[in-house]
Each structure stands twice: as structure tokens, then as C-alpha cells.
């Protein structure tokens, strides 16, 4: 098994970490280094007296280092992993030292508790039936929120009606306060998802290109949510879930039903980190080789805190997922891993732009609030025409690629004018590429 440096670098929390990791990927920095089937470990000379002890559990991968860095994985873990990926032969193979054994054992003990393995079996037993009192409290709390959200959305509808009456052109010149105040009221109304979308409209108004189109489409979604919420009781349960998720009333991970476990060989097709409501969010996309289903795993971290899904893009793992309730389930949570990751070029994507777009239309019909949609294409040719980046399918259909010039050149270089396997997020108008495979190699875009 060997990982490509690209996959490892993709784990770096930021660009300086990636660079520091690369410069630590040198045998000279690691006087002691070893590996076995499960783990890689090494001692790195640092500025202190004692060397740092760095270890990687390859089954996930998971990292641990004795350095004081707050970044995760730290540069030592990245450096060691890179070194292992490029110069495995320079590592001693054999039994791990006690400090590695200890850590791995601890991990094994913790695994079930952390809900990564075996939780599916234990969950029903552990979760004792809620007492009558607890249940009542919960129901009460839920109905309080229901009232508050309803009031918030009613206010939002009035606000949008007012905006519509006066026109988008007038809204465009409003100060940021105009949007902020509405967003703040929605936060108070416990509808943070709606609040975020209102706040984002402020920057849409300030952007030049097609702002009216984008703004109008956003208002459409919000209006649909406000209207839908008025009669939420009459909607089928999965649609209720989608509406709540859009408003920001999320299902807790613990509340997920274990009935919907899906085991598959999941290819980690792409990963994107972005900021949302002062949190760093990492979205990791998976696609099942067997089922052809997509899944999105979300990880959250406060700024400056570690963020890792423990998944390597461009690899495949055999694992079980549980989906969040939805009329078109995408968001999921990783439950149990059955294998370590192996590099993989996926062969379970769409054959053409049309087959993708029909899947997309189907998804929208079931959940109209879908904002980004995963798109894995088996064979498209990245091209640049009149300074526009495009992906061309075998039938000659053109999909515009997201506006990011540097990534475009990498894509073009990687393809060399021939078909590649491409993964990206489709936002309804453009594909934002995240990963590409060609000639058995993987690159992040």
C-alpha cells in the first residue's frame, strides 16, 4: 500500500504546515524510524533536548506527536508520513517500541467509546429508554423552538416582501447593517441556517457578476422554507428533516437511527474546508463503489483548532455509514471502518454530463434546498477555451468549471488533453473541481 504525497499534503491544516511538513520529510531529521502493518513511528530532532515522538496509525490514519503544536496533524506527523510514502525502504520494519504499542492499545480501547466501531451494536443497549420526564422536557423544548422558528421565519417573509416591493436595485445599496439585523433576529429565533443565508446575501449584493440572479435564487429558497414551515406538519417526515436542516435545526449525531447503516467500499472523492458561522467546516465527499451513492461527512472546528476527518482523498475504505434523515440523503456519519484506506481511482462516476444532470434534477425534486451537489465524472477532458475553463464529456457537452485559475492549470496539466476522472461540487451553474485522477495518479485541485 502506498499513498501519494498529494493525498498526504491534503491533510495539512494550512499551507505553512504543508511546507514545514515537506521540509521535515528527510531521513536526516528522523534518526529513528520504523513501521509495521498497522503503524509508522519516528523520533524527530527538534529544538528541545528530547526528540519528538511521532506516530501514525495507518488504519485511519490517525496521528499523535509529543510536540507542543496546536496544529493537527502537526508538521512532524506530515513530514513522517510523507517520508514514509516516498521512502518506505528507509524505515526499519518490525515490532513497534513500547510507546507506540501503548498508544495503539489505548486507541483500540477507546474506539468503541468514540463511536467509530461497534457502536451500531451497542447503541440500542446503551441508550436506555428515555424516562417519561425527559421525554416531556424534550417535547416541550422542541415545541418552544417550533414557535420561535415560526415567528422568525414569518418576520423573514415580511422582510423579503418589503425587499421585493422596493426592488433588488434598492437592496443592493443597503449598508451591511440591513442584512445583519435580519440575520441577528433569525439567530434569536434559533434559525441559524436561515440567518447565514441572509448574511451571505449581503456579500452577493456587493459582488459584481450576476448578482441579481444569485440573490433572487437565494430569496426563492428562503421563501420556500418560510412557506414550507407554515405547514411543516403536513409534510412527509424526510422533507421536514430537509427543511429543518436548511433552517439550521440539525439532527444530533447521537439521534441518528442505526437502521440506515450502509456498508460499501467508499472512495474519498474530495474534501473542502471553508468557514461558516465562525467555525471551520470540512466537507468530505464519499462515493460508494457498490451503491453508487454519495455521502458528505462534515467536521467542525473552532478557528485554530484541529480539524480532521481522518480520511485521505483519493483512497477507498470499506466502511459503514449512517445517513442523516432526508428525502435525498447526502449528509452522513462514519460509523465503522472495516479496512485501512487504499489508493483508488474510482470507476463509479457519471458517464456523461446528461446522466449527471438528470441525477441532479432528481435530487432537487426531492430536496429543493440542496446547494452543492457532488459530481464524479468517469471521463471528462478539462479544456481551456477563450480563457474559460471547461470540462467536456465524451458526447461533447461542456460544463463550466468554477472560477479558480490556478487549479485550472493543474487540471489541464494533469489531463494533457485526454480524459480524466474528475470530482467536484456542482452549484447549479458551475463545477468547482476538487480532485482529479489520471494515469493512476491522484491530485487535489
Amino acid at each position: 500500500m502506498s499513498f501519494s504525497p498529494e493525498q498526504i499534503i491534503a491533510l495539512a491544516p494550512d499551507a505553512p504546515s504543508a511546507k514545514a511538513g515537506r521540509s521535515l520529510a528527510s531521513t536526516g531529521k528522523w534518526p529513528a524510524r520504523g513501521y509495521d502493518e498497522r503503524a509508522v513511528w519516528g523520533e524527530c530532532r527538534g529544538s528541545g533536548k528530547e526528540p519528538y515522538r511521532t506516530q501514525i496509525d495507518l488504519t485511519e490514519p490517525a496521528f499523535r506527536c509529543t510536540c507542543p503544536s496546536r496544529k493537527f496533524p502537526c508538521k512532524h506527523a506530515l513530514g513522517l508520513f510523507l517520508l514514509f510514502a516516498t521512502q518506505q525502504s528507509s524505515f526499519a520494519s518490525g515490532g513497534p517500541p513500547p510507546w507506540v504499542v501503548e498508544w495503539l492499545e489505548k486507541r483500540d480501547r477507546q474506539q468503541p467509546k468514540r463511536g467509530t466501531a461497534g457502536e451500531a451494536d451497542q447503541a440500542p443497549a446503551e441508550a436506555a429508554p428515555p424516562t417519561q420526564k425527559k421525554r416531556t422536557t424534550k417535547v416541550k423544548r422542541s415545541s418552544e423552538r417550533q414557535t420561535r422558528v415560526a415567528a422568525g421565519l414569518a418576520e423573514l417573509e415580511l422582510w423579503m416582501r418589503d425587499l421585493t416591493r422596493r426592488g433588488l436595485a434598492a437592496a443592493q445599496t443597503q449598508p451591511p447593517k440591513y442584512w445583519e439585523q435580519m440575520a441577528a433576529r433569525l439567530i434569536d429565533a434559533q434559525a441559524p441556517g436561515a440567518a447565514r443565508r441572509v448574511r451571505e446575501m449581503s456579500s452577493v449584493a456587493a459582488s459584481a457578476e450576476e448578482w441579481a440572479d444569485v440573490m433572487l435564487a437565494r430569496m426563492g429558497s428562503l421563501f420556500l422554507a418560510a412557506e414550507g414551515f407554515k405547514r411543516i406538519e403536513s409534510l412527509p417526515e424526510p422533507v421536514q428533516a430537509d427543511l429543518r436542516a436548511y433552517i439550521g435545526w440539525t439532527t444530533k449525531e447521537e439521534e441518528l437511527s442505526a437502521d440506515g447503516l450502509v456498508r460499501d467500499r467508499w472512495v474519498v472523492t474530495g474534501q473542502r474546508t471553508y468557514e461558516e458561522d465562525k467555525l471551520r467546516v470540512q466537507r468530505t465527499w464519499l462515493r460508494g463503489e457498490e451503491s453508487g451513492r454519495d455521502a458528505a461527512l462534515l467536521d467542525f472546528a473552532a478557528p485554530g483548532q484541529a480539524l480532521t476527518s481522518g480520511l485521505l482523498t483519493g483512497t477507498m475504505i470499506d466502511a459503514e455509514l449512517v445517513y442523516y434523515p432526508s428525502n435525498y440523503p447526502l449528509r452522513a456519519s462514519l460509523r465503522q471502518r472495516h479496512s485501512a484506506p487504499v489508493p483508488r481511482t474510482p470507476v463509479c462516476g457519471y458517464a456523461s454530463a446528461e446522466s449527471f444532470l438528470s441525477a441532479y434534477a432528481d435530487a432537487l425534486a426531492r430536496n429543493p434546498w440542496i446547494e452543492v451537489f457532488p459530481a464524479l465524472f468517469d471521463e471528462v477532458v478539462p479544456i481551456r477555451r477563450d480563457e474559460v475553463w471547461l470540462a467536456r464529456d465524451a458526447g461533447g457537452r461542456l460544463l463550466p468549471l468554477g472560477p479558480q485559475a490556478d487549479g485550472g492549470w493543474k487540471l489541464l496539466a494533469f489531463g494533457g488533453g485526454r480524459p480524466v476522472t474528475l470530482f467536484g461540487e456542482w452549484d447549479g451553474r458551475r463545477l468547482l473541481p476538487l480532485g482529479v485522477w489520471a494515469e493512476g495518479r491522484y491530485a487535489r485541485v
Partner: protein, 518 residues
């Protein structure tokens, strides 16, 4: 178009414009039809919700009417290993970036190329650093050429058609093209240049002309001779300079002859040999009469020291290939130097000989001059100015022998005034193990010595960083070991950098030499 109708109403607002929906027969039309138009805002917002979804779900990708652009031809040359690719990535991110040229050369030698994912960043580096371009195009393969054709800023790497670029390219592209072509097809390059020569501006004529130094051959003479009549003095001087380098040129022969006739070697029975000069009264007139079509640069500050005639003499001696004195008088370079030292025009003649040794890259003369310790001690201003550049004309082994000799002579450790130091700074090729060890030992001794004058030591500190690029990487471990710690840590950063650059060079060269793993 439903969406455009909605958009136009939404833009100005419903209070000013009524919602006019022109629903079609489709499902969207039927849905829109059900909206209550009396609730203007509600109807518009609902229409927005419906139409926006309809639009997203109904996205129609354009059908490409053009054929697919031509794909890149397959590369025969294999990619470098992932490990080597990581070293490149690190350098492209700004780490060890001064080592990049060595990496590019080594990769070329190993018969490998740069993997596709690193090409855009590497081509961008070449865009910013023109000196790297010739090295870069050697390792980018077909994929690199193919990619470069699609980005105007990378056109230099596209291997495009010469004629077009020459006629339509910008200055940098044309310079690059001419330089590359001159290496592979010097005649064609000169023809291209001569085809547009008359319409080029002086600045370009000068730069283009200089490129003819590469691939210089006898068939260039007619073209070069014409440049001696150029409107621009700088172009005339450059033309003369190049003609002098052409061993068969008429100009070189004339100059050697005529200038040679002004000097004579005298060896009295008693006393020291000396060179005597019969200076023409009016050098300009003399040049004209003798068809010495060369220009003396305008006199600057330096010439005050030599005087007008000395300044002219310096250049005249500089025009003559130094070996011709040896032939003329049957003397060795050291003997000619010694006789020059006893001449009335000592400063001018010696400076001229040094200029000539550098101009003609005459290794024997360069060695004689560099071994002449007295020369440096005499502190002849005009001579010293040209001295340091001479090292590069000497084969590495001979330069090293010279430096080792200097190092052996003075064993107090390497210091700023050490005669070996400036030669070392000129030695910009991989050093031998012996030299690497000797220099590192010298610097360690200096650091261990304690006493220091920071102002002076700065130079040595900077030199150490440069040396890291040339010491023998195979000795990385040995050369990185046992550095003395100076009391206040003043040397620490330079030593750290030396060690890490050296180790990086060793690792990166090893990675390239190893059989690729993919």
C-alpha cells in the same frame, strides 16, 4: 423567458412594476398560473422559488461545436519519483529555492522529467526568473510544451515556431528564442536576426548581438563586420568584442598585428626584463590609419588614475589575445607579467593583460595571473577590478589546485582577507571532496577562534551560505558534523542554514539518482 420577466420586476420592485408572468403550457406554467396575482409580493417570491429551481434542475450544457483541442503527445521520458517531486514542490513553495537550478540539471542528466502536477508552478517560476528558463525547458517534456502553448506567459516553454515568435513576440520571448536557436542552429539564428536588423531599436540590437557570442563561427564574420559601422557606439563596441573572440576574424588579426607592433620586450644583460611602449601621438588617428576598428569606452573616474593615454593603452592591450605576446617574444606568461611590472606603463599593461586573459578565457594566462600573489598585494586599482571574474575561465581542477595552495599557505583559518576567499566565491561549480573539507575546516577554525569583527565577518557568513550550494553533497554528514559553538550564537543561523541546505542537496540528488519508483 419567465426568469427574465421575474428578474426585471424584482429589480425595480413590485411597487413600481406589476408582476407580469407569461406562463407557458409546461408544468412550470401551470404552477405559476395557480399563483394569486393580487398578492404582488407573494406571487413574485413564489414565482422566484419555482423558476429558480426550474432553472437549476433544467441546466442545459452547451454542445461543443469545435473539435477537441489536440491532446498532448505521449512522453517517452519517464517522470521523476514521488520523492523527487516532493523536493521540487518544496522548492517551488519557496524552500531552498537557490538549489533549484542544481535539481533541474540533475534531473535532466538522469533522463527524467517533471510530473504533470508540478508543471504550472514550475512554469510560473520560470516566468519570474528568466535565468531558469533554459534549464526548465529541458525537463518539462511534451506535456510542458503542450501546456505552455495555452498560456501566453509560458510561451517561452512551448517550443513554438521560430519565425512567428521572432516577428511577433515581445522582447523577452525574442531574446529567449534567439538564444535557444543559436545553440541548435546558429546560422538560422543569425539569418533571423539579420532579416529584421535594420528595424530593431538600439537597445534590442545590443542585446541580440550579444547572443551571437553563443555558437560563434566564421560564417558570422560578414554580419559582424557590418555592425562596426552601426549608429550606436555600444553596438559598435559589442560587434568588435565579438569579432575579437572569433579566432579567424580579420579584425583580430589586424589588432594583434598592429597593437603588437607598439610593444617590445627588452632584456638587458644586467637588470630586469621590461616591456617598452612606443605610444602613438594621437591614438585615434593611429587606429584609423591602421584600421583598428575598435572603440575605447568613454573615460570615467578610473581613467584619472591612469591618464588618457594609459586608459587607451589598457584597452589596446586588452584587445590582443595574450598568447600572442608569448609567441611574439617566446616568453612564458609569468615572464611577460614580470616584464610588464618593470614597464613605465605598468598599471595599464597589467590591467590590459588581465582584461585580455578574461576576454579570451585563456586558462594558462588566468592561472599565471591568479598565482601571482604580488599582483594582489600591489593593489592596482584597474587590475583588481577585473581580477575576481577570472576564476571562471579556469578548469575546475586547476582553480581548485590554486585555492588549495592558498589555503595551505595560510593556516589561520578562513578569514575575510584570506586570498583564497574571493577565489572560492568565484568557484561556482561542485567542489571536490578535498576542497570542501579544507574550506569547512577553515571556517570552523575561524568560528572556534572566538575573536571577531562583526562587520568583516558578515562577508564570511554570507560566503558560508553560498558555499553550501557547492560543497560536495556526498560528504553532507561529515561536513555537517562537529561545528564549534560560538559563545553568543552569532554564527548559529548561518551554520544551521549551511547544514540544512547541504543535507537537502544530498537528499534531493539521491532521490533523482535512485531508480524512479513510479
Amino acid at each position: 423567458m419567465v426568469w427574465e420577466d421575474i428578474l426585471s420586476t424584482a429589480a425595480v420592485g413590485t411597487e413600481r412594476q406589476e408582476v407580469v408572468l407569461a406562463p407557458g403550457d409546461g408544468e412550470l406554467g401551470r404552477a405559476l398560473h395557480r399563483l394569486d396575482p393580487s398578492d404582488r409580493e407573494g406571487a413574485l417570491l413564489a414565482a422566484v422559488a419555482l423558476a429558480a429551481l426550474y432553472r437549476r434542475a433544467g441546466f442545459q450544457p452547451a454542445l461543443d461545436r469545435q473539435p477537441l483541442p489536440e491532446a498532448c503527445a505521449a512522453d517517452e521520458v519517464p517522470c521523476c519519483s514521488d520523492e523527487a517531486g516532493q523536493h521540487l514542490a518544496l522548492m517551488l513553495e519557496g524552500g531552498f529555492k537557490e538549489v533549484l537550478p542544481e535539481w533541474l540539471v540533475a534531473l535532466r542528466k538522469a533522463g527524467r522529467r517533471v510530473p504533470a502536477d508540478h508543471l504550472p508552478a514550475l512554469l510560473d517560476r520560470g516566468r519570474a526568473e528568466q535565468s531558469l528558463r533554459p534549464l526548465i525547458i529541458n525537463v518539462t517534456g511534451n506535456r510542458g510544451c503542450w501546456l505552455a502553448t495555452q498560456n501566453d506567459e509560458w510561451r517561452w516553454a512551448s517550443g513554438g515556431a521560430a519565425g512567428d515568435t521572432w516577428e511577433t513576440g515581445n522582447r523577452h520571448e525574442r531574446l529567449f528564442l534567439l538564444r535557444a536557436l543559436r545553440e541548435t542552429d546558429p546560422e538560422r539564428a543569425r539569418e533571423l536576426l539579420s532579416s529584421t536588423w535594420k528595424s530593431e531599436v538600439a537597445r534590442d540590437r545590443l542585446s541580440f548581438l550579444e547572443i551571437l557570442l553563443t555558437g560563434l563561427n566564421p560564417s558570422d564574420e560578414p554580419f559582424l563586420s557590418e555592425t562596426l559601422q552601426d549608429r550606436s557606439a555600444e553596438v559598435r563596441r559589442m560587434g568588435g568584442e565579438i569579432l575579437l573572440r572569433l579566432s579567424s576574424s580579420h579584425l583580430r588579426e589586424t589588432v594583434s598585428d598592429k597593437v603588437g607592433s607598439l610593444f617590445s620586450y627588452h632584456k638587458p644583460l644586467l637588470g630586469k626584463a621590461r616591456i617598452e611602449v612606443s605610444l602613438p601621438g594621437d591614438p585615434e588617428k593611429w587606429q584609423k590609419e591602421n584600421q583598428v576598428q575598435l572603440e575605447v569606452p568613454a573615460t570615467g573616474a578610473v581613467s584619472k588614475h591612469l591618464g588618457r593615454k594609459g586608459w587607451w593603452l589598457l584597452h589596446a592591450v586588452g584587445w590582443v589575445p595574450p598568447m600572442s605576446w608569448c609567441r611574439l617574444w617566446s616568453r612564458k606568461p609569468v615572464e611577460v607579467l614580470e616584464a610588464a611590472r618593470n614597464s613605465e606603463w605598468k598599471a595599464a599593461i597589467i590591467a590590459g593583460l588581465i582584461t585580455a586573459a578574461g576576454r579570451y578565457g585563456d586558462a594558462e594566462w588566468v592561472e599565471a595571473i591568479l598565482s601571482d600573489r604580488q599582483l594582489r598585494e600591489e593593489n592596482l586599482r584597474e587590475a583588481n577590478a577585473n581580477l575576481s571574474e577570472l576564476g571562471s575561465h579556469l578548469p575546475a581542477a586547476r582553480l581548485e589546485a590554486l585555492i588549495l595552495d592558498e589555503l595551505a599557505r595560510e593556516k589561520k583559518g578562513l578569514h575575510v582577507d584570506h586570498p583564497a576567499l574571493w577565489l572560492l566565491l568565484e568557484h561556482r561549480q561542485e567542489w571536490s571532496g578535498e576542497l570542501s573539507r579544507a574550506v569547512v575546516a577553515g571556517i570552523k577554525e575561524r568560528i572556534g577562534g572566538g575573536r571577531k569583527n562583526e562587520l568583516m565577518e558578515w562577508q564570511l557568513k554570507a560566503a558560508l551560505k553560498q558555499f553550501a550550494l557547492y560543497v560536495l553533497p556526498a560528504l553532507a554528514d561529515e561536513l555537517s558534523a562537529d561545528w564549534p559553538a560560538d559563545a553568543d550564537g552569532w554564527w548559529q543561523d548561518a551554520v544551521d542554514e549551511f547544514q540544512s541546505v547541504l543535507r537537502f542537496r544530498r537528499d534531493m540528488l539521491r532521490a533523482i539518482l535512485k531508480e524512479g519508483n513510479n
